[in-house]
């Protein structure tokens, strides 16, 4: 926690495991939601002019991301460009100094992440995206935590989408392979039946075959009308399925176009797609 300037987070190197436990969350859980305002018109998700970061220094500079209903938007960019930070900003896990987030005609900039989930957003973080000691089925149940209706049907849909999960449903998620774990993570986020699904590098650390599989599943999900905002390291494959592509560099939009156009742009090809 040395990154922070907050003295309460400075443990002076004392990390005695017999009295303390690692793995605290980053999000302030004591915060309360502000109000929402109607903001009709515009795309389904419009996160515009986002500026902010984790501490004093800004990571995002006037960053804008939009997704139309039922479409796939893909964010690519070099390591450390702020792609994950932008996703967290859209989800309300970051204190923004500027900009706003609008979802389905409503300004939700003041909402906590929990309340954004209730409004139909689902998020699969880049790392730590499953509950490792809980079984696959329990992971999915936790995904459906906010639902008061019967979610058995949704669980069956997730099992249809990822049949391997049904086989492993009694196994702790922490014991699964990387690809299976990513499927649990996506499945967990789908359990709320989100209108917008945000995926941060869903294919990180999986084999090329599993990657193609996952992309197919993601397209399948988008076909059901769910909008998708996705960060991808495998830029070429991702832009191929993208309706809209964003190239992010140092926390700012560098190129924005349809996936197809970005793939065709020689400048983008040369600098970001390796020729």
């Amino acid at each position: 926690m040395s990154r922070s300037s907050n003295p309460y987070q400075d443990d002076r190197g004392n990390k005695d495991r017999s009295i303390t436990r690692e793995g605290k969350g980053e999000v302030d859980s004591t915060r309360k939601s502000g109000s929402t305002r109607p903001a009709p018109g515009g795309p389904f998700l419009a996160a515009e002019n986002m500026t902010g970061g984790y501490g004093a220094a800004d990571i995002l500079h006037d960053c804008t991301l939009t997704v139309e209903q039922g479409q796939i938007a893909v964010i690519v960019g070099p390591n450390g460009a702020g792609k994950s930070t932008a996703m967290k900003a859209v989800f309300g896990m970051l204190n923004l100094r500027g900009g706003h987030v609008k979802l389905d005609g409503e300004d939700i900039s003041e909402l906590t992440p929990q309340d954004r989930v209730a409004r139909g957003m689902g998020f699969v973080p880049q790392t730590h995206n499953v509950f490792p000691s809980m079984s696959v089925e329990e992971n999915l149940e936790m995904g459906a935590f906010i639902r008061t209706d019967d979610f058995k049907g949704t669980m069956e849909q997730v099992y249809d989408l990822f049949p391997i999960l049904k086989e492993k449903r009694r196994q702790p998620a922490g014991e699964l392979s990387g690809g299976q774990r990513q499927q649990v993570a996506v499945g967990r986020a789908l359990m709320t039946r989100p209108k917008l699904l945000m995926l941060d590098e869903p294919t990180a650390g999986v084999s090329p075959i599993v990657m193609d599989e996952l992309f197919d599943r993601i397209i399948e999900v988008a076909r059901t009308g769910i909008s998708i905002l996705m960060v991808e390291q495998n830029a070429r494959q991702a832009l191929e399925i993208a309706d809209r592509g964003y190239v992010l560099v140092q926390g700012a939009n560098r190129y924005t176009d349809t996936g197809e156009a970005l793939l065709a742009d020689p400048e983008v090809r040369r600098t970001f797609l390796g020729g």
């Binding site: 004591t30 989930v117 935590f145």
Partner: protein, 336 residues
């Protein structure tokens, strides 16, 4: 050689007392391990939470006794228990609101929370003594024995008596019920699962719509309930003295760490490991040995490894050994 008398002596002086004590430690360690697993720090105020809770139970017991309410063969304290739990939960939740919440908001490093809990410990310590005093209080009533030593001797004709006090029986039965309820709660209910989810991954729990503040509140409440139950059972079995509960902190932490911090199963196993070690190391084995060994080998001394005054040294030694050789504990706790 007299095996039967040896077994009875062993049961009477080691097995039964250690089982009851182990159950008390296990309940205490469960509270510690829950806080560690979910709030991620060792709560040094747990011993004094037990003391405060037991003090509340005693006050309610006196109130009921003065009103002439009794539970027949069972101690009146059992009736006072829910009230003691409510009062303690209120205190603990108030403390969370006034103290811990601030540090949670700051995302304070866990080791800072440990120190904060020490501050809370001193305050609770003072509050408890202020309310109920520093002296020793006995508050058990109802039937004294399930098995009476004198009657046991008469009916069996053995030289050794076997006493099974009702507070010991009560301790064991209550512990089994409480542990079963806790495991059912953690593994089967929605709230229990959300607590495990939060323990696994705070941010993901939040992203799943689980309210962290609710998880924290439920965790404090359960740990307070466990503390009051453990404290009351201990007080019924031995006697109540505020300072004793502060001292209990060491065997309780030893239990939780032996079992593996963060593992509820481990806390229970650890409680019995510590209790049996403590009792068997401080017990004078002369009597049992005399029954078992042939006369020529009869021991001269007491055969007591350590005087009971040093019983806490046993917990301390176990703690050190575990931390040196198996720091994750018997049941592989969370990243110790």
């Amino acid at each position: 050689m007299d095996l039967l008398n040896a077994i009875v002596a062993l049961l009477n002086f080691v097995v039964i007392p250690a089982t009851a004590y182990g159950a008390q430690l296990a309940l205490g360690a469960l509270g510690v391990t829950l806080i560690y697993g979910i709030l991620r720090f060792s709560n040094f105020a747990h011993g004094d939470t037990m003391a405060f809770g037991t003090a509340m139970v005693i006050l309610f017991t006196w109130l009921f006794q003065s009103m002439g309410i009794h539970l027949g063969p069972l101690p009146t304290a059992l009736l006072a228990l829910p009230f003691g739990i409510a009062a303690t939960a209120a205190l603990v939740l108030g403390t969370d609101r006034a103290v811990y919440r601030f540090y949670r908001k700051q995302k304070a490093a866990p080791v800072i929370l440990v120190i904060v809990s020490m501050g809370v410990m001193f305050v609770m310590n003072g509050v408890t003594r202020f309310i109920i005093g520093v002296g020793e209080i006995r508050f058990d009533d109802g039937a004294r024995f399930v098995i009476n030593a004198g009657e046991f001797k008469k009916s069996t004709g053995l030289a050794e008596g076997l006493a099974f006090r009702s507070t010991q029986a009560l301790t064991i039965v209550t512990a089994i019920l409480v542990v079963a309820a806790l495991f059912w709660f953690l593994n089967r209910t929605r709230t229990g699962k959300s607590m495990r989810a939060y323990s696994d991954n705070e941010d993901l729990a939040l992203l799943s719509g689980i309210s962290p503040e609710k998880v924290v509140a439920v965790t404090w409440t359960i740990s307070a309930a466990l503390a009051v139950i453990a404290g009351t059972l201990y007080g019924l079995d031995k006697s109540f003295k505020a300072f004793n509960y502060f001292q209990l902190l060491l065997p309780i932490f030893a239990s939780a760490i032996v079992g593996g911090l963060g593992s509820p199963l481990g806390a229970i196993a650890g409680g019995f490991v510590v209790a049996f070690s403590e009792v068997s190391i401080t017990y004078a084995w002369k009597k049992v040995a005399t029954y078992v060994l042939p006369e020529s080998l009869a021991p001269d001394g007491l055969m007591q490894l350590l005087s009971t005054d040093y019983k806490f040294a046993v917990s301390f030694a176990i703690l050190i050994i575990v931390l040196l050789f198996k720091p994750t504990g018997l049941f592989k706790g969370k990243s110790v």
